[in-house]
């Protein structure tokens, strides 16, 4: 006799408090247990396209890693996440009469045997014979395995409560409730069949939708039922006395909304940062360069109470502001020599830079790109299409860059984390099908193996021939904007104009929000939505109210980038220190303190060179051009000319090749090669040694060691050395014996103090003054305080 233990642990939401039942049953009686009857009550219907598909999703059968894989698994395939019930039914029915679906003895069917490990299953046990999943599948089989009916009832929407909760200790969990709305107007509680996916390890979600604390922090929980999905936020917070939070004075709506969120979470923001850190950060974020030593010193010593906002205004008026945004957009618009050739790269970069210099509204900027046709040399914007050479690439790039929508998943299957279907993809892609190229003259490319390379002029034309083919239906796609119902689209060039209007309309919230999020990202160091170009319901912003407010502000200000940057930088939130307090040490996303990030390749190299006073050489460019001003990626190929140390630096520190329209291509990783570069780079050693190097000039000057140390600290770290640092550095400069081990900042010692005192009054001067100053500069350039934005 087979014994089986049936416990109410799995489905306690219906039968809480019931006795543990010990039912001994044999074979086919097992599914007819009391539990199965309770399942009958909670889900009395077993429709293929609703309950059965939901089970296949809930049990994970149709995940990409399992049977939802393109090739299926173990000879059994399902559509990814149940996106196509018709296909699923056909695939299941192909096995009709076989072991997979046994309608005579349903319990013997492999679709029940495998997931319950009745027979061996590579995917392990997915559910038990007393489960809701088992009950639904077995009742469906008993009913003769009916397929999806045409015009059957559909799910039209999903709602989850609570949407946004803060759970404070001692409370440790929150129960979600998921309601599905059906096409006949009815609703049903589908909590037991929805799929829950937490975004991180802060929480876990039970099978039944109970979200439990694993540690303190915020989690986004993706909730999915059939093709519908959305996300809710849960924050698990310690028990805090809320009285203790003291917010600094709010400067504008940015602070109001950030502080409101922090208040809800019980997080005390960090202190407002000091002037040195502020000016450094403001220069790096707004201009991509360091303040000079004297700029920093003047600012710090100024007693003007409005000096911060005045500084911000002056930065926004500087030409480097346009350099920085030209660099950001050159990355996104794939401005690189292989596809656009160097002439194209130059004119394109110039157009981008001029646009920011003139303060061109961002919507106009995008419209000019979209409607561009003509010679890629004469019409700089035509390079947008030259860089994106097929309808699918154009469609993906345009959606991603201007709408923050990552579409590419939907090329081969419905997007697993978003609403986009394959039809949406092709209907959008066909809007881009009329773009064509005329090649003027011969391709002068130097690498005949590289089919992407094209050197020479091209003329972008709009020549509509036919609609793009929908890969799913194999029929011509119907032109349609993303997320819009079907429209009659012109087939002539005005299609691009209609597209540009729709794309950049103030009513197009995707456009406005994605651009605002990008601007926020580049100033604050982290997006309100991360990744910055991935806006979707299952990836909600950390502060939706703020994103909405910024979007509204951006539209009201006529898409003026400087205006938005000015507001963000003037907020108290921007000006917070990166040093954490007790309550925000783990917070990385709510902007309760400044984001710490390695400087971008160009910024870091320019910062080094500015501190030394000697520019780096980049092949193909005049000496003196900053890394942040380089229009393209690689003007001179490395195999044609050995890369300069500046070129190597940029490649090593993650300057992107611009093969993708994505901020994600730029790497801010730290690597061993970078460490080598910083530690032993010949380039920087040479630059420090040059005649006009400020390091050399300092060494040869009449300045005392003490004055030299002051200057070096201001030049590199934009601040004065502390007293201890000052003593220490002066001692280092004065040291002629080069025995240094064992001494560190803050050490006391008569000998050291005596030496330092002598050095400070200038009575002792080291023979090795130049190399000592070089060493000190080197060390400060390698310090993390220099290498990171903080």
């Amino acid at each position: 006799m087979q014994r089986c233990l049936v416990r109410p642990d799995g489905h306690a939401w219906k039968m809480r408090g019931i006795l543990i039942l010990l039912i001994c049953a044999v074979g086919k009686f097992a599914p007819q247990s009391l539990w199965a009857q309770s399942h009958d009550q909670s889900f009395p219907l077993v429709r293929f396209q609703i309950e059965v598909e939901a089970v296949l999703s809930k049990a994970g059968c149709n995940m990409g890693a399992c049977h939802g894989n393109l090739n299926g698994k173990g000879g059994f395939k399902l559509s990814l996440r149940g996106q196509d019930p018709g296909d699923d039914y056909q695939w299941l029915m192909k096995e009709h009469g076989s072991r997979r679906l046994n309608l005579f003895e349903p319990a013997q069917s492999l679709i029940l045997q495998k997931p319950t490990s009745g027979v061996s299953h590579q995917g392990g046990t997915r559910f038990r014979t007393d489960s809701l999943e088992y009950s639904i599948l077995s009742r469906w089989l008993q009913a003769g395995a009916p397929g999806p009916e045409p015009n059957a009832i559909r799910v039209t929407g999903l709602s989850v409560t609570p949407e946004d909760s803060v759970i404070r200790q001692p409370k440790d969990s929150v129960q979600l409730q998921v309601l599905a709305k059906f096409s006949d107007g009815s609703t049903a509680d589908v909590t037991a069949l929805a799929v829950y996916e937490p975004s991180n390890l802060v929480s876990e979600v039970s099978h039944e939708g109970l979200v439990r604390r694993l540690k303190n922090g915020e989690s986004t929980i993706g909730v999915r039922f059939l093709e519908h999905q959305l996300a809710i936020r849960v924050a698990f917070m310690p028990r805090t006395s809320r009285k203790r939070i003291r917010f600094p004075e709010s400067s504008n709506y940015v602070d109001d909304l950030i502080f409101a969120k922090l208040d809800k979470l019980g997080i005390q923001p960090s202190e407002i940062t000091n002037d040195s850190e502020f000016i450094r950060r403001a220069f790096l974020d707004a201009l991509g360069i360091l303040p000079t030593g004297s700029e920093a010193k003047r600012f710090v010593e100024s007693e003007d109470p409005e000096k911060r906002s005045k500084l911000i205004d002056s930065l926004l008026a500087r030409p480097e502001f346009s350099d920085r945004w030209a660099l950001i957009w050159s990355d996104l618009l794939r401005n690189e020599e292989k596809v656009l050739d160097s002439q194209g790269v130059e004119v394109y970069h110039q157009w981008i830079r001029n646009s920011f210099e003139q303060g061109k509204p961002l919507d106009q900027f995008v419209r000019e790109l979209i409607v561009a046709t003509g010679s890629t040399y004469d019409v700089p914007t035509a390079n947008y299409w030259r860089a994106n050479r097929a309808p699918d690439v154009r469609a993906e790039t345009t959606a991603r860059t201007f709408l923050g929508i990552r579409l590419q998943c939907a090329k081969c299957h419905n997007h697993p984390f978003d609403r986009w279907t394959q039809d949406d993809y092709y209907d959008w892609a066909t809007l881009f099908s009329g773009i064509n190229y005329e090649e003027v003259g011969k391709n002068e490319r130097s690498d005949k193996f590289d089919k992407n390379e094209f050197i020479g002029e091209q003329i972008v034309r709009y020549e509509f021939k036919e609609e793009y083919t929908n890969a799913r239906t194999k029929a011509p796609a119907t032109p349609r904007f993303l997320g819009d119902s079907s429209l009659t689209q012109p087939v002539d060039r005005s299609r691009l104009e209609v597209l540009a209007q729709w794309l950049t309309s103030a009513d197009n919230r995707w456009f406005v929000k994605s651009q605002v999020n990008r601007i926020w990202y580049h100033i604050m160091g982290r997006g309100l939505v991360e990744p910055v170009d991935d806006l979707r319901v299952t990836n909600p912003p950390v502060n939706s109210a703020l994103l909405e407010a910024l979007a509204t502000e951006f539209v009201d200000a006529g898409f003026d980038v400087r205006h938005l940057v000015r507001q963000i930088m003037n907020s108290t939130s921007y000006q917070l220190s990166s040093t954490p307090n007790m309550t925000n040490v783990e917070d990385q996303q709510n902007f309760s303190r400044a984001i710490v990030k390695r400087l971008d390749a160009e910024v870091l190299l320019d910062a080094q060179n500015q501190a030394i006073g000697v520019p780096a050489k980049f092949n193909g460019y005049e000496l003196g051009l900053r890394a942040g001003q380089i229009p393209g990626v690689r003007k001179v190929k490395w195999r044609k000319e050995t890369p300069s140390s500046g070129d190597l630096f940029l490649a090593t520190f993650g300057k992107p090749d611009r093969m993708m329209a994505c901020e994600c291509e730029r790497s801010n990783e730290t690597t061993l090669n970078q460490a080598f570069f910083l530690v032993s780079d010949k380039g920087i050693g040479e630059r420090m040694n040059e005649e006009k190097s400020q390091v050399r000039q300092l060494a040869e000057s009449e300045l005392s060691d003490s004055e030299v140390v002051e200057l070096i600290y201001w030049k590199t770290l934009s601040r004065a050395p502390s007293h201890a640092e000052h003593l220490f550095a002066v001692h280092y400069l004065a040291n002629t014996e080069r025995v240094f081990a064992g001494l560190s900042i803050g050490d006391s010692g008569r000998r050291k103090n005596k030496l330092a005192a002598e050095a400070i009054d200038g009575s002792v001067r080291s023979q090795d003054r130049l190399s000592n100053i070089q060493d000190l500069t080197w060390a400060l350039l390698n310090a993390k305080e220099f290498v990171f934005r903080h």
Partner: protein, 454 residues
Amino acid sequence: MLTIFGSRRKNEKFCDGYSRRDFLTIGSAAAVGGLNLPQLLRAESQQSSGRQHKAIINIFLPGGPPHQDMWDLKPDAPSEIRGEFQPIATNVSGIQIGELFPRMAKMMDKFSVIRSIEGAAGGHASFQAMTGYAPGNEPTGGWPSIGAWVSKVQGQVNPSIPSHVSMFYKTGHNPWGNPGNGGFLGMAHGPFRLVGGKGETSKTDNMVLKGISLDRLQDRNALLASVDRIKREVDLTGAMDGMDAFTQQALGILTSSELVDAMDISSESTETLERYGKGDPEFRADGAPKMTENFLIARRLVEAGARVVSLNFSRWDWHSGNFARARQDMPMLDGALSSLVQDLHDRGMDRDVSVVVWGEFGRTPKINPKAGRDHWPRVSTAVLAGGGMNHGQVIGETNRLGEYAVDRPVTFQEVAATLYNQIGINLRATREFDLRGRPYSPVNAGVEPIRELL
């Protein structure tokens, strides 16, 4: 990091053998990219005490070596196909290889020959041999190389020796000098390159102190430690710790000289050096030099702690003078390769260190009027040794003329799968995300290691 899998009850495993919690744990470690080095090092030192680590030596022959003149001779073919070389017997009865590989023949029981490599893309590139993947259709961020996967999954053995190192010379024809990179796994997992290109110093540029003495560097390092005062708690991402760890590693490499020592073969006996043979450092045409010494250095690097060592050797694109060039290059390869594999056996490393030798494609059966053979992507050959595999066998077979596989076709991915398997990477469980959040395994779904070798 986006999570992909659905939520399940505790302790239930997914079909790739990982529970969701495992998965999330791995995912969150991965979120900091290669930055969590201190932890990786710790984990490794806990694991590896008292046992040898596993490794891969990937030897690429740029240009497409002639399979029918090396390890798949066709003595029954007409003379315009057969060529000038005779098959010779080996110490495994029934296996014959080309006469220019007499030393390999004497120890054929330590090698396996795959005669049926298919699926070459046809381009002159190391890409497939270095990544396993076919070029094109790349995930966002690019395909990672084999070494990158190993570095990502297994981390480092020795803090002074990078996990993934390459002796790929930069070649005039770029794609022959490409050891693969980190792809979507990140730059941190790309190869640490030990050699340069024509006219560059033989050792890697940045490994050698330039214009600064070791003493001064150590001084500077002490100085750096003193002035670097930023509070560490401002950074939760691990980037600052990562930078410290890498800085220490860079200094370790520069000052401890373990890596430099591994590359310095002067401590090897004359007998050993002679066995490997004297290389030819000249860059001819657009290929790599013929550095037989690098086979020896590869062994030394693995001994020092490298997990994946790749190297390119010579230039095999012999559209003319095939046989004359074969007479120069093949004996060099024979000597270096047989010495390497013999050393692995003599040192008890043969169960841990896999060696693979291959090119991007094979060559035309028919000899052209210039006594050359042209490109032949339909089939090519590869040799495997070590790695605890069953050797002394031939896998696959081509037809009488060496035109195509008639039995047991093997893909580049299957060879890669075998290498991953032997180094201890669980192909079912290993999953990483490209820059757009799509999951990938080291090999495509359904690709299995070569069962005959296991």
